[in-house]
């Protein structure tokens, strides 16, 4: 099907990578022609990033690499260090994930973009590169922390293009960005790849992002390449069960099969937010918000980073004092201090985005879950309460997990521990800040199902904060759209996501990459 490429930019022949006895990449063969865009999909641990790093021989010394890696026809494996250094960035460059950490924090971004040009003697100017990625020229003098996530990613792209490579490898280039910024960054990348006739190898766990950007798609599973073909065909007719699972895991807005929340009768209000205003110094983060969450209702609060949704959630939880307005929980105003506040907090529990950082790495599961019980001095047998909560979060049997440390668990299991820590206090409202954003596609579905089951069995209401409209479609009863501190639109999921009335909601929906 793929035409025989005479002069590929990149050719992997039977690439196999071992760490000790562990085989992380298993007999992968790939070719990429100039101007071709190839998406490499897979979950965490599938070996896709290892493939990316092996192209420029950036793997740690403990890795054992077999097979051939031909970059422009030359085997990277057999190059001398000098040749390899000359090839790095000049023939192939990488847009790394997490530009915050992949840029040197104490050097100006302009210097960092110029560094490979000076090193490889490439003519050109930093200003031209910044123009190409649509960044204001004065940003060259900025330090990474002074830029937004999208701007940093643009800097990474400008840097990757600095030496005019024939191949760009993009490793999860938009993972930490919200939908609107993600769409902007992807547009810039697509345009530059087309203009400069580059080969693009883009790595992501998000099939919809790859579908948006790449003509061809390859899927990796447990180190092996399980499927390769034209993007449309692979997604429409997946031949490997893992590809099918990946495509099914991403919700399609408007598809009833992806709408998992069952319709509920209009509930009694549990939490009411009335004309809430929160100021940070002179900036108004939350600007006159009205929001109601019913008993057992799941409300999705959607918006871009910086829209004020996290501040709103913190204020609802009593972690921040409102500048004006009121938060009413179960008919009474939320107390601002003392024992009453503590009692209120027991009823409203928080689930954070990244379970790996939410859990103390030195606390066993038992202690992590029991902490709330100890803080609130809840009587009863600690171990049996913890066991019940852990099993509610579907870690069964609980005694297998109680003595584990977080790093011994998978991402999905860690998130279940965080949820168990909330459940043990028998809360009535769960505030979940991007609860599935850091999880793999397959695990994501399980956590969504768990949240819905908790609502069904315990009548637990949730406020889900997310920039992922697909998640809102999957799980929520109602959606509130937040923009610049204001709720610009709210209503039932069908109404807001299928017939949006506000321009901003429409813009958000347009930005969602479609499979």
């Amino acid at each position: 099907m793929t035409p025989e490429v005479t002069n590929p930019v990149l050719e992997l022949k039977k690439l196999t990578v071992h760490y000790g006895h562990k085989r992380v990449v298993d007999d992968v063969s790939l070719t990429l022609a100039p101007g071709q865009t190839l998406g490499l999909a897979g979950e965490s641990g599938s070996g896709k990033s290892t493939v990316a790093m092996s192209v420029l021989r950036l793997l740690p010394r403990t890795a054992r690499v077999d097979g051939e890696i031909l970059l422009d026809g030359h085997d990277v494996q057999t190059m001398s260090w000098g040749t390899l250094r000359a090839v790095r960035w000049a023939s192939a460059s990488i847009v790394f994930q997490g530009a915050m950490h992949s840029l040197n924090p104490v050097r100006r971004v302009g210097d960092q973009i110029a560094e490979p040009m000076r090193l490889h003697g490439t003519p050109g100017r930093v200003t031209e590169l910044l123009e190409q990625v649509e960044l204001p020229l004065e940003k060259a003098r900025a330090y990474p922390h002074e830029l937004s996530g999208g701007q940093r990613q643009r800097v990474m792209i400008a840097m990757a293009l600095a030496c005019g490579p024939r191949l760009v490898i993009a490793d999860e280039p938009t993972t930490a960005l919200d939908v609107v910024v993600q769409a902007q960054v992807l547009t810039v990348m697509k345009r530059l790849v087309a203009e400069q006739d580059l080969g693009l190898l883009m790595i992501s766990h998000d099939l919809s992002v790859l579908a948006e950007t790449c003509d061809d798609l390859a899927v990796m599973h447990r180190g092996a390449l399980v499927e390769r073909g034209c993007t449309r065909e692979v997604i429409a007719n997946p031949r490997h069960p893992h590809t099918a699972a990946l495509t099914a895991a991403f919700p399609v807005i408007g598809d009833p099969a992806h709408r998992w929340a069952e319709p509920a009768a209009a509930p009694e209000p549990l939490l009411e937010v009335r004309d809430l205003v929160v100021d940070y110094g002179r900036t108004r983060a939350v600007d006159g918000v009205d929001l109601t969450i019913g008993q057992g209702e799941i409300v999705a609060l959607v918006g871009q980073s910086g829209s004020g949704k996290t501040t709103l959630a913190r204020t609802i939880m009593g972690l921040r004092k409102p500048s004006s307005g009121r938060v009413i929980f179960d008919g009474a105003a939320v107390p601002l201090k003392g024992r009453a506040l503590k009692a209120f907090r027991r009823q409203v529990q928080l689930v954070l985005q990244d379970p790996a950082s939410a859990l103390n790495p030195r606390h066993k599961v038992l202690d992590a879950v029991a902490e709330g019980l100890r803080v609130h001095r809840i009587p009863g047998d600690e171990e049996s309460l913890v066991t019940a909560a852990v099993e509610r979060a579907e870690l069964r049997p609980a005694n297998l997990y109680l003595d584990s440390l977080p790093h011994e668990l998978s991402g999905g299991q860690q998130q279940r521990v965080v949820i168990a820590g909330a459940l043990v206090l028998q809360p009535r409202l769960l505030v979940a800040d991007e609860p599935v954003a850091s999880l793999d596609a397959s695990v994501r579905g399980e956590i969504v199902a768990l949240l819905l089951r908790l609502r069904r069995e315990l009548g637990l209401a949730s406020l889900i904060i997310t920039h992922d409209l697909g998640l809102a479609w999957q799980i929520a009863d109602r959606v509130a759209v937040m923009h610049q501190g204001k709720i610009v639109e709210q209503g039932s999921v069908e109404q807001v996501l299928l017939n949006p009335s506000h321009d901003y909601t429409r813009a958000l929906l347009r930005a969602v990459p479609q499979v």
Binding site: L58, A90, N104, P105, V106, E115
Partner: protein, 316 residues
Amino acid sequence: MRLAGRLGGAAVSLVMVAVLGFFLFRVVPGDPVVSMTRGRPTTAAMQAELRAQFGLDRPLHEQFWSYFTSLLRGDLGTSFTFRRPVAEVIAERLGPTLLLVGTATVIAVGLGLWLGVRAAWRRDSAFDRATTGVSLTLWAVPTFWLGMLLMMVTGDLFPSRGMRDTDTAPDFVSQALDVGHHLVLPSITLVAVVCAEYVLVMRSSLLEEMHAPYLVTARAKGLRDDLVRRRHAVPNAVLPAITLVFLRFGLVVAGAITTETVFSWPGLGLLFYDALTGPDYFLLQGLLVVTAGAVVVMNLLADLLHGVLDPRVKVV
């Protein structure tokens, strides 16, 4: 605003030092007049006269007030033992101390940071093991013992007492050579003892940066290993070490009591030792104010410099 805050904080610390300096030596047991006149027959009248002369007969709050106001004028009182103004005595000893401890600190910082970087970059190599092992051993060794050992081992190669010989020609070159000659043993002792601190701080701080993703970026760009280290890793890793270095520069003024005593180096450290054996309250008080003040000022400088070196810290 932040700068004003830092300056204010430093000013408060300095006042605290002054207050502490006064009361600390008032609660120490012993009568200064008795110790002043030890070994000499004195009458009660003479003692009373001495008391009046040093203002010791006045109520505590009056003593404090006159101490504090004269401190603001730079007057640290008069030493019992030297019978001269404390400020003058300290100023005289400041030069030799700055020379000895300053030289040793600069060498120790340079050597320590360099060794620390090399050790971390080749972690668990023979070089790393040797560096960490030797510097830790030297750190654990008592200073006076090391000093005396050096004296014995080097024999007559280097002078081991004082700062200059009495019979040296008075011209500048011979004087400088003589002082340099005297400086060798005490500074080697000091460097050996304090170097480990810099080695270990630099090493652990660089080890933390070794897995930073921006180093992978730098390598992917095609930078040589030593450029990755010099341009990217070290500028980040050196930041925590800066604070330590400046705190240490503050302590330079305090001198090195044991080293100066062992080698009879006429600096502040030896002066401290002499003042304690007195005890000479006004001198101790003055030394405390001067040395603690130096630490406060250097700490302030470290804060400010950190802001210059690390763009993420906004000082001004």
